[in-house]
């Protein structure tokens, strides 16, 4: 009994510690991202651009490919149901709304977790193990300013951009399948899509993608700084960054979906 209570206490304390550390990291990041540049302490623009290229531009092919296929798959699955009622024209509505509101932001986030979130954790973790973080520190260069802020800004830019691309590619995937395989009139598909979508769908998707970016970057950075020991620690934290990040993305997605449902 005592042991159980003790364990619960310890786990709670660990959680409180983790949350505190994340808060400190957040405050520090925002400080170096917003307050310090306003006071003329500089922002690392070049490094941010490099990170943007690595997170955003380099992810474009894989995000596009996967979203195209998912659009096509969705159209196929929708047709399976809708054809029974002779309502195949509504495939366009279904694909459009699902892509905008849900699947494009989600797929982009999950792909970038695997591709870039893990890379952030591994990079920072490796730098910690090889004393590079310490080296920054003794040179009087703040690791948050130097490493975290460029990644954070790049991620905040890259994910919404990718999400917009993903939305259109996904609808294009649905379009290709419906017109080529199911033989729908392209004109009809366009009209249906246009009639189905409203501005709110786009906004919903964009807001989600923004918060996904925050989650991916902070989980990666947090896990990276958590690395202890050697290469083994890097591997462990990288894996756990992907798991934590996907879990939190789904939670955030859930919260926003409920929120926008009632809005």
């Amino acid at each position: 009994m005592v042991a159980i209570v003790g364990n619960i206490g310890r786990i709670t304390l660990d959680w409180v510690h983790a949350v505190l550390r994340v808060c400190v990291l957040m405050v520090d990041t925002i400080n170096w991202m917003v307050v310090a540049p306003l006071r003329g302490r500089g922002l690392r623009v070049r490094s941010t651009i490099e990170q943007f290229v690595s997170f955003g531009v380099m992810s474009l092919p894989i995000v596009s490919l996967i979203c195209f296929l998912i659009g096509a798959i969705m159209a196929m699955q929708a047709s399976y149901q809708l054809a029974r009622f002779g309502a195949t024209r509504y495939i366009a509505n279904l694909v459009g709304v699902a892509a905008m509101r849900e699947l494009a932001p989600l797929m982009t986030a999950i792909l970038l977790t695997g591709r870039s979130g893990s890379a952030i954790a591994a990079e920072i973790g490796t730098m910690k193990v090889s004393e590079e973080i310490d080296a920054l520190d003794v040179m009087g260069l703040n690791p948050t300013k130097f490493l975290v802020v460029p990644k954070f800004l790049a991620m905040l830019l890259a994910i919404p951009c990718l999400t917009v691309v993903a939305m259109f590619v996904m609808m294009f995937g649905g379009f290709c399948l419906t017109t080529v395989v199911l033989g729908m009139e392209p004109q009809l598909y366009f009209e249906q899509t246009a009639s189905a979508l409203v501005m709110k769908d786009l906004v919903t998707g964009m807001i989600k993608s923004f918060f996904f970016a925050v989650v991916i970057c902070w989980v990666g950075v947090y896990r990276g700084f958590q690395v202890e020991g050697g290469a083994e620690g890097v591997g462990k934290q990288t894996t756990s960054s992907v798991v934590t990040s996907i879990f939190l993305i789904i939670v955030v997605d859930m919260v926003f979906t409920i929120f926008f449902y009632f809005m």
Binding site: T126, S130, E131, E132, D134, V138, M139, G140
Partner: protein, 266 residues
């Protein structure tokens, strides 16, 4: 020779703990300007920890560290950054930034802390690299260098801001004797050319004889002997004699002692 009372580094009653475990327990020493102070001791006795405290990467549990007479341990972050600019650190694994070229590594502190022209920075980088015998390696990536060259590049980076104090963590560990001797000579040269105050952490006796003005021997978080090499050789402390003679621990004793030290018992 500088004023005898001119101590650049002074450590007073330093106690350092990792969690519950005391790693350093009451360390006291002073380093005069322009001298080389060697911290000697077995693996895991807390040498790197001591160095991390001196350069301000850790805050001690208790005790004080004075750098140029200023209480480093009581300073706020801004004051510490100002003091750190006068310190160079060579890390055990050289800690070069792997994503940058050697030249960019050396130029980084200059680019971040000074408003020098890019052309000036390039020249200074070249000079620092030539100083450590790496002239012409600016465009190499750290991964393309050998172990000894990485250490040299790390030294060039530590020297970039023309520090007064330079700290080396195991400069010759993992290097073959010839490269290690070359590094020792380099440490000596740096000290003489720039009147640097150096702190060298090592467990290599051969390099100690070459570079040390003062040696302190650490064991179990305490200093067991301190003085020049002659004093160390004449020491009656059994651990010092064992270390100098390279005698192994008595069978079994070492293991259980190590285990006890890990589990935190005294």
């Amino acid at each position: 020779m500088a004023n005898v009372n001119d101590y650049v580094i002074e450590v007073r009653d330093l106690v350092v703990k990792y969690g519950e475990r005391t790693v350093l327990d009451g360390i006291n020493f002073r380093v005069p300007r322009g001298q080389t102070f060697v911290i000697l001791g077995g693996s895991g006795c807390g040498k790197s920890t001591l160095l991390r405290n001196i350069v301000g990467l850790m805050r001690p549990h208790s005790g004080r560290i004075f750098i140029n007479g200023q209480d480093f341990t009581a300073m706020n972050d801004r004051g510490r950054i100002a003091v750190r600019k006068k310190m160079g650190v060579c890390f055990q694994g050289s800690a070069l930034f792997n994503s940058m070229t050697v030249g960019d590594n050396v130029a980084l502190p200059l680019r971040e802390h000074t408003k020098l022209e890019e052309s000036t920075i390039e020249i200074m980088t070249k000079i620092k690299l030539e100083l450590v015998g790496l002239g012409g390696f600016e465009d190499f990536m750290p991964a393309e260098l050998s172990g000894g060259m990485k250490k040299r590049a790390g030294l060039a980076r530590a020297m970039a801001m023309d520090p007064e104090i330079i700290c080396y963590d195991e400069p010759s560990a993992g290097l073959d004797p010839i490269v290690a001797a070359g590094l020792d000579a380099l440490i000596r040269k740096m000290q003489h050319t720039f009147n640097l105050t150096s702190i060298v952490v090592t467990h290599e006796m051969s390099s100690v004889e070459l570079i040390a003005d003062t040696v302190c021997m650490l064991k179990d978080g305490r200093i067991v002997e301190m003085g020049d090499m002659g004093r160390l050789r004449a020491s009656s402390h059994p651990f010092v004699q064992q270390f100098l003679d390279r005698r192994p621990d008595e069978e079994g004793e070492g293991g259980s002692e190590y285990l006890r030290s890990l589990t935190g018992g005294d």
